[in-house]
């Protein structure tokens, strides 16, 4: 019984020491989510309030030596929020990493934005159009709320904004081909 209690206490201590890291999932005017400069009329301006979902993706440092080494398949969606209270801005609150990243330890993060009529980034990407935006993977510090004294959530200082528009031209061409096909079928009828 004594051994069991010791083991439980030990595990609890390890769990405490391995408390997860925290980041403030928010951006600034300098890092707002913009349409790509190549988008007519909207190019370079912040995406509208209430029309997009912003997702924070995460991977532990073990996913690669540098951000460039980390594969998108290793990134998991941590949390989502919306565009508010101003164009291109988001305030998602404190996001907590899984236990694979202890508090105060760096981790890899990325931000993806998609039109909120789609359930996910992947669906938006498949849907085509100017509906999904992504950013490169970046390394960021995390805060440690279990440190002595407690630490606040780290700012997303590695985040440099979202400007690039996906889908790629190939996807747009595929979409256009599909539309032409539908038009052709309707005409034949």
């Amino acid at each position: 019984m004594k051994k069991l209690i010791t083991l439980v206490v030990l595990l609890a201590s390890v769990a405490y020491l391995q408390a997860q890291g925290t980041v403030n999932f928010a951006n600034a005017a300098a890092t707002r989510v913009n349409y790509s400069a190549s988008v007519p009329v909207l190019g370079g301006t912040g995406v509208q309030v209430g029309q997009f979902t912003v997702g924070l993706y995460y991977a532990p440092l073990s996913a690669g030596a540098t951000p460039a080494d980390v594969l998108w398949s290793a990134m998991s969606l941590l949390t989502t929020t919306g565009i508010a209270p101003a164009a291109g801005r988001f305030l998602g609150g404190v996001a907590t990493t899984p236990s694979s990243t202890a508090g105060g330890v760096d981790a890899y993060f990325a931000v993806r934005v998609w039109q909120n009529t789609f359930a996910s980034y992947e669906e938006a990407a498949a849907g085509g159009g100017y509906r999904n935006l992504t950013t490169t993977i970046f390394r960021n510090a995390t805060g440690n709320p279990s440190s002595v004294p407690p630490g606040a959530a780290a700012a997303m200082s590695g985040f440099t904004g979202v400007n690039n528009v996906v889908p790629e031209p190939g996807t747009i061409a595929l979409g256009a081909l599909g539309a032409l096909g539908l038009l052709f079928i309707r005409r034949r009828k």
């Binding site: 403030n24 209270p85 305030l91 407690p150 200082s157």
Partner: protein, 233 residues
């Protein structure tokens, strides 16, 4: 005769009112301002509102700030709450909407000045000096951290009578060094001996508008309240 009496009474009445209005009116309120200057960005600071500015809501206490400036409030039971961010042109927001948070004198909080902010940043706290019998809104539970500050804009050691700090044995005070972005060496209170930083007898002395973390030992009274009487002479 009756009319004369009435007229005289009326004139006297008006004269008395005029005299009372002409008398100097003294107010016991002391209004002032405190400037806090921050000289590095991408940095955290532990700050406290040193003056009563009406309702003490965040938008009243800090009407404007650099874009993406963030405040983190702390409670001994819940830890850090959701961030309160300043959005240029829109004001203070939490993730759920406009912030209605109250930053009353006595409560300390983390203030984050984001990277890229033009320096220095000066925040001006405007309001009344809290006076009379004061009770700090942050209570001090045993075995937990509290983020606390002096309710009045006075720089003095926590052991001084003017501060009225209810120290208990094994209390530990942590100041955050905004320049180094690290905690300074902690101060500990030894019952019957006073405050020490390491082996040196020295009192923690918060700057005006500066807060600190206080860890109350489990052996301390279950809950303490920092009360004091303060009057500007």
């Amino acid at each position: 005769m009756r009319t004369k009496t009435l007229l005289l009474a009326a004139v006297l009445g008006v004269a008395m009112v005029a005299t009372s209005l002409a008398q100097a009116i003294y107010s016991v309120n002391v209004v002032g301002y405190v400037n806090k200057t921050f000289t590095n960005n991408a940095s955290f600071f532990i700050v406290a509102n040193p003056l009563n500015s009406g309702n003490n809501t965040v938008s009243t206490v800090i009407p404007t700030a650099p874009d993406a400036t963030t405040i983190y409030r702390f409670t001994s039971t819940g830890g850090f709450g959701q961030p309160i961010s300043f959005v240029e042109g829109a004001g203070w927001f939490t993730p759920t909407g406009p912030s209605t948070d109250v930053l009353a004198p006595g409560e300390a909080f983390f203030l984050f000045i984001p990277a890229g902010t033009t320096l220095p940043v000066t925040m001006t706290f405007v309001g009344e000096v809290p006076q009379g019998n004061l009770t700090n809104p942050v209570s001090i539970p045993a075995g937990k951290f509290s983020m606390i500050a002096s309710q009045v804009p006075v720089k003095a050691g926590l052991g001084q009578t003017i501060m009225g700090f209810p120290a208990a044995d094994a209390d530990t005070v942590y100041f955050f060094d905004g320049a180094a972005q690290a905690y300074k060496a902690p101060y500990s209170f030894v019952e019957g001996a006073g405050w020490f930083q390491g082996a040196t007898a020295v009192e923690p002395s918060p700057e005006v508008g500066e807060g600190f973390f206080l860890f109350a030992d489990a052996s301390a009274p279950a809950t303490r309240t920092w009360t004091r009487t303060f009057n500007v002479q």
